[in-house]
């Protein structure tokens, strides 16, 4: 059953799709307005998912499960900010270096939030395991990992600020003039540590946690989040592929190197195959929307509902 929440998300998404098509039709693909409209609607949808997470966290009375719902809410808020700033960057404040700097920081903070969710989920999984196995000694290593992750984000921000101050606002895509290659590699490792830690922990730890946990609620939650992560990554790669063809749209891309990878892949594909620009824009939009729906399913699955509604006779009946 789709559920009222997903129906609302689908309605907002459909509205966004229509607006996107209208703006493309009137202003052209890659125009400021068209670039603004798609991510903005995805941002709204993500914000709604955050609302669902907060709402559910308020009725989950066990602290660990409450933190999981809050984790999803924070992840959704982070995602919506990524989309909003992406839209703003592409449409309103294009080229403003300070804004680019702030936008560059947001994904790292978002990764920290994701790490929070991974941490809470791992602990919830341990609780759901009948013999309470501590997968990969997570209880022991989580605090050092937290310190490394947060430290990397702070150091990464300082490095980003340094690049900004020295006029190289593109950050990790290339070393600033005064930096040696070895130092740049070290900096790149430091900057990428949050991704490695968060995605590594998520990809390696959580599948095992899900398998060990015998709690169907937690399993469904993790599976839906996994689907969200997969669709989101695919959406971003697709976006990068699209951006490679439409440089004017490249303003919104949280991961510059994904775009580079996309370009490498594209080099092997005949350009005529992917020339349908409007379709590619719509496909990317649809994929991000699908990712948002998966995230919504993930948070909804934390609170298994028995659907009922008041009947004419004043009693509650199953819907």
């Amino acid at each position: 059953m789709m559920g009222q929440d997903n129906l609302r998300i689908a309605i907002i998404g459909a509205l966004g799709f229509i607006v996107l098509q209208i703006t493309i039709a009137f202003y052209g693909i890659g125009s400021v307005v068209a670039t603004f409209s798609g991510p903005w609607f995805i941002g709204v949808v993500m914000f709604y998912v955050a609302y669902l997470g907060i709402r559910r966290s308020r009725i989950l009375y066990s602290p660990i499960y409450r933190r999981q719902a809050r984790g999803i809410a924070f992840v959704s808020v982070g995602a919506s900010i990524v989309f909003f700033t992406g839209a703003m960057n592409g449409a309103v404040v294009l080229g403003n270096p300070l804004f680019v700097l702030i936008q560059g920081e947001i994904p790292w903070v978002w990764l920290l939030i994701l790490f929070y969710w991974v941490d809470v989920s791992a602990r919830a999984g341990k609780r759901s395991d009948p013999i309470a196995r501590d997968t990969f000694h997570w209880q022991s290593i989580r605090l050092p990992l937290w310190a490394a992750n947060a430290g990397a984000v702070v150091i990464g921000s300082i490095i980003e600020g340094y690049f900004f101050a020295t006029g190289n606002i593109t950050g990790i895509t290339g070393p600033p003039p005064s930096t040696s290659t070895v130092v740049f590699i070290l900096i790149a490792i430091m900057v990428n540590l949050p991704q490695v830690l968060t995605l590594g922990a998520g990809l390696i730890l959580l599948p095992i946690v899900a398998r060990r946990a015998k709690d169907g609620v937690l399993r469904r939650h993790l599976v839906w989040f996994g689907v969200f992560a997969l669709v989101f990554v695919l959406s971003t790669v697709t976006f990068a592929l699209k951006a490679a063809f439409l440089p004017s749209n490249a303003a919104f891309c949280p991961y510059g190197y994904v775009e580079l990878a996309g370009k490498c892949v594209l080099a092997t594909i005949p350009s005529s195959v992917l020339q349908v620009e409007i379709v590619s824009e719509s496909v990317v939009y649809g994929m991000y929307l699908l990712a948002a729906i998966c995230l919504s399913q993930s948070v909804r699955s934390l609170v298994p509902l028995t659907e009922i509604e008041p009947s004419e006779g004043g009693e509650f009946v199953p819907a």
């Binding site: 059953m1 009222q4 709402r55 559910r56 009725i59 989950l60 009375y61 066990s62 602290p63 660990i64 499960y65 409450r66 609780r127 759901s128 009948p130 013999i131 309470a132 015998k214 709690d215 169907g216 609620v217 937690l218 934390l302 609170v303 298994p304 509902l305 028995t306 659907e307 009922i308 509604e309 008041p310 009947s311 004419e312 006779g313 004043g314 009693e315 509650f316 009946v317 199953p318 819907a319």
Partner: protein
Amino acid sequence: MPSTGISALDQIIGGKGYPDKSAILIIGPPGIGKEALGYYFMKSGMASGDFCLYATRLPVSEVLHDGKAFGWDDPERKCFWIAREGGDSNLDLRNLAGIHEVLRETLSGSKNRRVRIVLDFASPLLVLYPTDIVYSFLNQILGEIKKHDAVLLATVELGMHNEQAMVSLQTLFDGFLEMRYYGIGLNIVPMLRMGKMRGTTPSTGYFRFGFVNGEITVEPAEGAMRAEKPTGESELLPTVEGETEIDLGQRTDLVTVFNYLVSSFIDDYATSRYPAEKSGWRSRGSIIESTKLSKASFYGALGKYGPLMGELMSRGLVETCFFPGERGRGGEIVKLRIAYEKASVRALVQNSLKGDEGK
């Protein structure tokens, strides 16, 4: 009777708390607050000087950390802990005999004090062992409870075990309390209901509950959702003099359904010898199949009732009930039967029964 630690819950159960020498099962999905009922139970027990025993698959520190959010703590370790870590005795789920022995010895050493036990590892046991072994183990534990002045509260996860295991546990325990999340329109409402409670007459129906600043609130659900009647009332309700006429008007479909439900009740009660509270319940599917009426009469759009069903309900001719163990269209199955508590309907049934006896 030991208080639950929640005055509103005491009232729902019958006024004083859980029955003496009883074992109560709390069923609910993860995170809904099953353990919180255990914390309140322990808190109340420690305040009244009872011997409190907490048997948990978690480390003591984790339980106390959660308990603090509900206003329960045990800094002086007044409670006896059987826990995976940090307890007075270690819990090893792979050694059921050992757990039984520790519980038996601890109960023997309670020195005639009333004992309160909270046990949170019923679900892991059901995952690790076949149902019959868990049943046998719990049966032994419950046997110890009966020998002492003890009350046990056990929690079990909803949606984690098969139906057979859940039914077995519900049969084994003296009472059970079910907690669920219900979606009512746009709202999510946590509700609880009393499944059964030995020796008491608990309030039927569903109760909203919530935790605010460590305090629990329990209040009857708006709309008075009907629950199954408590077991133990197998006698027919007494005949009430007065209104006995039932006006079904000219609608033949209404008459058909009502007559079918009356005969179903009589079949169950008089022929199959079901207790009155269990008699006459039929799903909409079986009514449609037997009466050959259209589905649209019973099922409306968007999960609402159809016009005929609505008419039966608005006239007060039928009552509805959820059957949690069974699944229907998009949710738990709802069954209906004649509104047996209504004097005119009851009189009609009893007249029919007398008529059958006369034959």
